[in-house]
Symmetry: C2
DNA sequence: TTGAAAGCGCTAACAA
DNA sequence: TTGTTAGCGCTTTCAA
């Protein structure tokens, strides 16, 4: 008899159904068709299994087949609209394919990224999605070494299949819109558009910054170095830099391009100290979308990145067995002020 | 020689270091101390392992030890500030303890909750955290049946250890603040506070609704049934009901208690259509906190739930091996309008 | 202080 | 059409 409390195994089902373990295995995992097991035998076995509450032990199967059914995702952070949206679509899509998703967050630390990947390898993941990696090439190297299927998302690797949103196009759209809409201001220090936030060492940021510079140069003749304040992603830093800028140029600039939601949140903690009138002479845009961010006291242009499409394309690349370094671009969308995009927050709360 | 491309096993390390597999196993998993293996033998083995890039196969260990090192979390949704904050703290804390976190989201469907739990069981998870379950008792039963350690978060089970935020206290605080601050309004239909959103069948909602009713009754003498519009968590529904309410009572109510961020997002899509003056005669509060929600065109009182504490306490309950149904309460915090809480979004972007 | 060997639950040759 | 058996990589007695 089976040890009580523990789950039944195929040996239990074999005994109970009068079949052999291998027949049970085949009947239960679907391979009975080509193992030429009689329909009724298979059915009898399935009935017994159901009655006993059998469910397969994926560890054992994984060990035997050298495929775990686990798929990993490496993320910088979880509590960030963009990344949590990625992880949402990732888990949904993984389970939909019968895979079990495992997520690690690394707080943008290269060492942790490598450690995380190694942890995931211990669990014998079959493939991994790497989003927003600060050191893509290191991770890419490890994946190639151990022959692990992988795709980069958001921040690409030169050595691996990658899918990113089209940062250059998105940033150009936003910069142009800001410059077009900017009011004329007397003070020359405030008459220019500024960019706040992001890390120029990271691919996404550098693309956005370059696109901002280009748009400014094209539409305004030139772009000064002081117009780009790439102070990183930490809200507190963005808050400081926002304050410093306002002090330096004597008020809000005519145009402000904020690079990412965390930077925006930081800047906001200073912006809210300003009188409402301060915003009359200023146009603000943020690269990234937040439904509440769209309804602040002042209007904000936002850029929405299609995280669903990013994940879908990443899975598609894996499906087609991509190994060579391709770079897929997903176009982002410019969202006018005071607009709620449908279905951005979970429809199910 | 080892098959190229595949990871080295303890047998490879054994051969290379001239020790036996069992000695290697002990040297590498820390049990060498009480297996009385010589310090230098252990060191030699570890050196070889490091040189070969050995990392343990958790599937094999799990199979042998009947402990996988996996810990599961079941969530209704991922792209929701509260739940994504829970999952963030969960993954962080799990990895910190050397456990591998696996998250499933169920879209508030009882069937999916059961299916998800069974999937996790196939992966031989050692324990599971169940957050926001619509049918806690069904899940509780399964866990007890298979002897799986588990804790409920946010929505409790009567049969299992649970940790929830103190919905009654939080809702009472918010309701009282709204009622105290509410302006006097001539139209009697608009002079009362209303509650919008939430599902009265769910524990958290029902507690909040009851607390709202109590506070209203206590401070205003009575609470009419039409003051509670528990229309669920879907933004679109909340938008409809917001519009209907405004039509019915001829404008914004003097006090509006919005139950949850998704309901708020829905309501917002209608609120933004109103002229700014409409908000002068109204006080709005939302149960749940969002940093951008705190800076809308109108002031909003918000309630912050301590998701970090929820997760910590849940792990603590597991640690102490709790099996009996205890219910722990974590107090939430009332956040005044236009306030950014530190560290709510990821400090690291 | 170390090694040999059995076995965790499953799959896949190979036999029958 | 089904059964027997070896083995995935690890841990853990038991023996040496």
């Amino acid at each position: 008899m089976r040890r009580t409390g523990s789950k039944p195994t195929i040996y239990d089902i074999a005994r109970l159904s009068g079949a052999s373990p291998s027949t049970v295995s085949a009947a239960l995992n679907g391979s009975w068709k080509d193992r030429r097991i009689r329909e009724e035998t298979a059915q009898r076995i399935r009935d017994v299994a159901a009655a006993e509450g059998y469910s397969i032990n994926m560890q054992a199967r994984g060990l035997r087949k050298a495929r775990s059914g686990l798929v990993g995702m490496i993320l910088p952070a979880h509590d960030n609209r963009f990344f949590s949206s990625l992880s949402q679509h990732f888990t949904t899509e993984a389970w939909r394919r019968g895979l079990c998703p495992v997520i690690v967050s690394t707080r943008r630390e290269p060492q942790e990224e490598v450690r995380s990947l190694e942890s995931l390898l211990s669990y014998a993941i079959d493939s991994v999605f790497i989003a927003g990696a600060t050191d893509p090439e290191a991770l890419s190297r490890i994946c190639h070494q151990v022959g692990l299927a992988h795709v980069f998302i958001d921040l690409p690797s030169m050595q691996s299949p990658s899918v990113v949103s089209d940062n250059a196009a998105g940033a150009a759209m936003l910069a142009r819109k800001i410059i077009e809409t900017m009011p004329a201001v007397d003070d020359p220090r405030r008459a220019k558009p500024y960019l706040l936030g992001g890390d120029p060492r990271l691919y996404a940021s550098s693309r956005r910054i370059a696109a901002f510079r280009e748009a400014v140069t094209e539409m305004r003749g030139h772009c000064d170095d002081d117009q780009v304040i790439a102070c990183g992603y930490v809200p507190a830093r963005a808050a400081e830099e926002m304050e410093r800028l306002i002090d330096r140029i004597g008020g809000l600039p005519a145009g402000l391009f904020i690079n990412s939601i965390p930077a925006f949140e930081g800047a906001l903690s200073h912006l809210v100290l300003l009188p409402p009138a301060a915003f009359a002479q200023s146009v603000i845009g943020c690269y990234d979308y937040d439904p509440f961010g769209a309804f602040l006291q002042f209007p904000v242009y936002m850029v929405w990145q299609d995280s669903h499409a990013l994940v879908q394309r990443a899975f598609a690349l894996l499906d087609q067995g991509a190994k060579t370094p391709v770079l897929e671009m997903i176009p982002p969308v410019l969202v006018p002020p005071r607009t709620i995009l449908p279905g951005t927050l979970s429809e199910q709360g």
